[in-house]
Amino acid sequence: MGPESLESIQKSALEDILKKYPEKAQKDRAKHLGVGLPADESQKTCGGVQSNKKTVPGVMSQRGCAYAGSKGVVWGPVKDMVHISHGPVGCSQYSRSGRRNYYIGSTGVDTFVTMNFTTDFQERDIVFGGDKKLTKAIEEINELFPLVKGVSVQSECPIGLIGDDIQATAKKTTALINKPVIPVSCEGFRGVSQSLGHHIANDAIRDHVFTSKGSDVGSTPYDVAIIGDYNIGGDAWASRILLEEMGLRVIAQWSGDATLNELRNGPKAKLNLLHCYRSMNYVSRHMEQEFNIPWIEYNFFGPSKTYESLRKIASQFDQGVQDNAEKVIAKYKPVMDAVLDKYKPRLEGKKVMLYVGGLRPRHVIGAYEDLGMEIIGTGYEFAHNDDYSRTTHEIQRSTVIYDDANEYELEAFCKRIKPDIVAAGVKEKYTFQKMGLPFRQMHSWDYSGPYHGFDGFAIFARDMDMAINSPVWGHNKAPWDAA
């Protein structure tokens, strides 16, 4: 299949898909679907798609809500705090322990990430308000978990609607328990996706964390912070190890395996290293403005991007660090080459359809390409225009771009553009597997991982090989089926 024919298939698939929508929805969706071309400089955003707009009603969007963005992503992984799901019981239950934010600690004693805390709203709380209950809840938490470092209040839908003043309650209880209580108004109906939740959560860090001081950790010229790594399956650890090897001191890790102290010490970094741009660019920009801390984006998926990123990071420091970066690369390169030698022949030319959230629809492209695989479709659940413009630089060939794609579109695209593997989330997984297509979950690494860094890439390569070359996909045809 030459690039032209691929492009025309992609374009016609897109047209066909739109036809099924009623008029209004069709117009709307047309703005969010496109075919991205690497050469096309005129495209402001990859494929010319619009993003961060309301979801069309009545479709099976894969998007989450602001609460999911704040509690599930940004705040939830901060390990030595309790994060209260404030409102009815559901959100808290569904969001428990799904994201594999690895951490080290004694759960229920000094760390709390995999636990569930909710004010479990009943009808009377809706009618009379839940501020009193929240106050009591915070006192109870402080009594039962004396080592807790602070509490965050993650608002669910009803809180904003019934007009509860969690800001005031937080202020009052901060004094009461003498620990920070941080209100986060991340009600699920706010914004169009989880994205606003990230922003709100970042603002809460700005307003309530930076106002207090962390422990004294001294200062070196090599102090950096990892920003926007949630330590899924231990990703941040596999990244951190490289930064340390190259002579940097990682004084804070946001927010996978993070402690409140690390967040507080964030502003002491000399450079912020931003991995998930979407979820944490806000607080990075704030630190730049307020504390003069520069930030750079990096990408630790796949050896090529990791080499590039290590050099880019090192270039911000002195010759010593730059030499170290070369040493680190020289040390791991043979291992990475051996991984590629082993897996590339098995994966070369395989076509990938991606659909994920914050950074992965573009960040993982390089890792696939290192393995000789090609991305023929990608898109984000909750990106903004700046994510798509960044994507333009990553794609290597014509690629279908779908913003806020729903189940119907993904299935239809898949049937038309025929990938060899789909890499998306758990809601999508079994749909594609039933179609006989290899699939990997790219939010949770399908309970494998880590995928970041050099150690992670070996696992990534192994997993993709496992998915694509597993014998299980060959069993669909029964011996009695006609040839």
């Binding site: 209004k24 309301k54 069309v56 009545g58 969007s61 989450g64 809500c65 999911a68 209260i84 409102g87 009815p88 019981v89 559901g90 959100c91 239950q93 569904y94 969001s95 600690g105 229920g108 004693v109 636990m115 805390f117 004010t119 709203f121 009943q122 009808e123 009591k136 809840a137 080592l147 669910e156 839908c157 009803p158 904003g160 699920g188 109906f189 706010r190 169009v192 950790v217 399956g233 231990g234 340390e244 395996d257 402690t259 409140l260 102290n261 690390e262 082993k342 189940e407 119907y408 809601k427 997984k429 079994y430 749909t431 594609f432 597997q433 039933k434 179609m435 150690d455 696992i459 669909n476």
Partner: protein, 508 residues
């Protein structure tokens, strides 16, 4: 560093010495409490003092064992043929419902929402509803749409009846297109309340012609049944008596489809059958605490005979079979007699490992009662029976079940308590085994009590949901899981060489 010949994941990677170094480095910035202090507090959380403090809690729920209403409504909708569950509210909830079911069943879970945002919060969600219904029908071509609400829609007071009517009169949907709806506020009850609301409303809204002449037919309501094999088993039991049985709603196939092709909807009760459901002679529910409203409608409005079964374990299954016998007027068929005898035989083969063992059981109300009854039938002791979403009357019913046990004086009922309460209880009044869903794995880790995974959700083990836990055949599965976990535990405790391995018996 990875060895390309033997790539390691997770734990094996992080146990390598260089990671130890990284973890140590990180500690310098964490400002975590002193090791000694952590030990001290950890010990304290196991004490009676802590338990008392824990039980004084009034405001915070910790590690709950329940979910919110719309989840149950979605299950009901997926039990109707070619029906799309439609949740009126923001799409975040729906992402959660789909994820939650998908993680349990390892199957896709279709469900749409109408993606309400701030403007809907101010002006109401009518526009979302009109567009949403239209789009949903166009894209997924369901034969029916079943609408439930989220807490948001309930707080702003959206009126489903008016909205659905509006969507039809304004031409967004054909007038005769079936749309059923139920209000499912998440701050009332639990996922089971939502199940009952959606089911009772569907029957109310679809059963238009209620005739006095009832058909010789039996409606079976499986309830929030997460063991899909159970639905077939219930149907087969009735059919063995020659009964014309209809399962309402039947979600058994939806989450149990085969490989090769993806079809969004599978199985389910045909819509025509639901319309005529009111004219069946009787209805039997397998989860009475889950379906009070449904039963009430059937009894009062449809004038049907109602029967409350709970066919988990021997006596529960016996009661169901006796009802079926009476209903059909036929003798108990040989096949059922044989299955019962097999279960009893198995119980007699295995009882000695269960006898006198102490159990803590937690889960949804009917499930917890059924499991407790079965454990007691095997000679086990139920020290703690806990239900977080216990409806009114459950505590008394639980007491009655536990009172059948010789250990009744040391058996306790915990209505409305959560899994953090249970953690305390496992330290202060310990048991030998814990029965419950995957959330129990942290209790197992913290307290050392082995967890037998039965319940919902089961995220961390595969395929258990494909079996049955109801009826005599389901009883065999329960027995299998319980006894073999006990044997595994005994083995793991007796394998230390030259210390305990003389008891590491080959034959058990």
């Amino acid at each position: 560093m990875q060895n390309p010949q033997k790539i390691v994941i997770g734990k094996d990677l992080f146990l390598q010495p260089e990671y130890d170094e990284t973890f140590k480095n990180k500690k310098a910035f964490e400002d975590m409490p002193e090791v000694q202090k952590v030990k001290e507090i950890a010990e304290w959380t196991k004490s009676k003092e802590y338990c008392d403090l824990n039980f004084k809690r009034e405001a915070i729920t910790i590690n709950q064992a329940k979910a919110c209403q719309p989840l149950g409504a979605v299950m009901v909708a997926l039990g109707f043929e070619n029906t799309m569950p439609y949740v009126h509210g923001s799409h975040g909830c729906v992402a959660y419902f789909r994820t939650y079911f998908t993680r349990h069943f390892k199957e896709p879970t279709p469900c749409v929402s109408d993606s309400m945002t701030e403007d809907a919060a101010v002006f109401g969600g009518i526009n979302n509803m009109k567009q949403g219904l239209q789009n949903c029908k166009a894209l997924y071509e369901p034969e029916m749409i079943a609408v439930s609400t989220t807490c948001m829609a309930e707080v702003i007071g959206d009126d489903l009846n008016a909205f659905v009517d509006g969507a039809k009169t304004e031409g967004y949907l054909p007038e005769d297109y079936p749309v059923v709806f139920a209000h499912t506020p998440s701050f009332v009850g639990s996922h089971l309340t939502g199940y009952d609301n959606m089911l009772s409303e569907t029957l109310k809204q679809l059963c238009k012609t209620i005739s006095k002449d009832k058909k010789e037919r039996l409606n079976i309501v499986p309830g929030f049944e997460t063991y899909l094999g159970g639905i077939d088993e219930e149907r087969e039991l009735a059919e063995a008596f020659g009964i014309d049985a209809v399962v309402i709603p039947d979600h058994g196939e939806q989450w149990n489809t085969g490989a090769g092709e993806y079809k969004m909807f599978a199985g389910g009760t045909p819509i025509e059958e639901i319309k005529g459901a009111c004219n069946a002679k009787a209805i039997v529910t397998m989860q009475p605490f889950t379906t009070p409203k449904t039963l009430k409608i059937c009894k009062n409005k449809f004038k049907q005979q109602t029967f409350e079964a709970r066919p988990i374990g021997l006596s529960g299954s016996d009661e169901l079979v006796m009802f079926l016998k009476e209903f059909s007027g036929k003798d108990v068929p040989e096949s059922i007699k044989r299955d019962r005898a097999r279960l009893v035989d198995a119980m007699q083969d295995s009882y000695s490992y269960v006898h006198d063992k102490k159990f803590a059981i937690y889960g949804d109300p009917d499930f917890a009662l059924g499991l407790a009854a079965f454990v007691i039938e095997m000679g086990g002791e139920v020290t703690h029976l806990l239900c977080n979403n216990a409806p009114e009357g459950w505590a008394e019913a639980a007491r009655a079940v536990l009172d059948r046990s010789p250990a009744k004086d040391s058996s306790r009922v915990w209505a409305g308590k959560d899994l953090w309460h249970l953690r305390s209880l496992l330290f202060t009044e310990p048991v030998d085994y814990l029965i419950g869903n995957s959330y129990g794995k942290e209790l197992e880790r913290d307290t050392g009590v082995p967890l037998i995974r039965i319940g919902f959700p089961i995220f961390d083990r595969h395929h258990l949901h494909r079996y049955s836990i109801v009826g005599y055949k389901g009883g065999l599965n329960l027995l299998n899981w319980i006894v073999n976990k006990i044997l595994d535990t005994i083995d793991s405790q007796t394998k230390e060489i030259a210390k305990t391995d003389f008891s590491y018996d080959l034959v058990r």
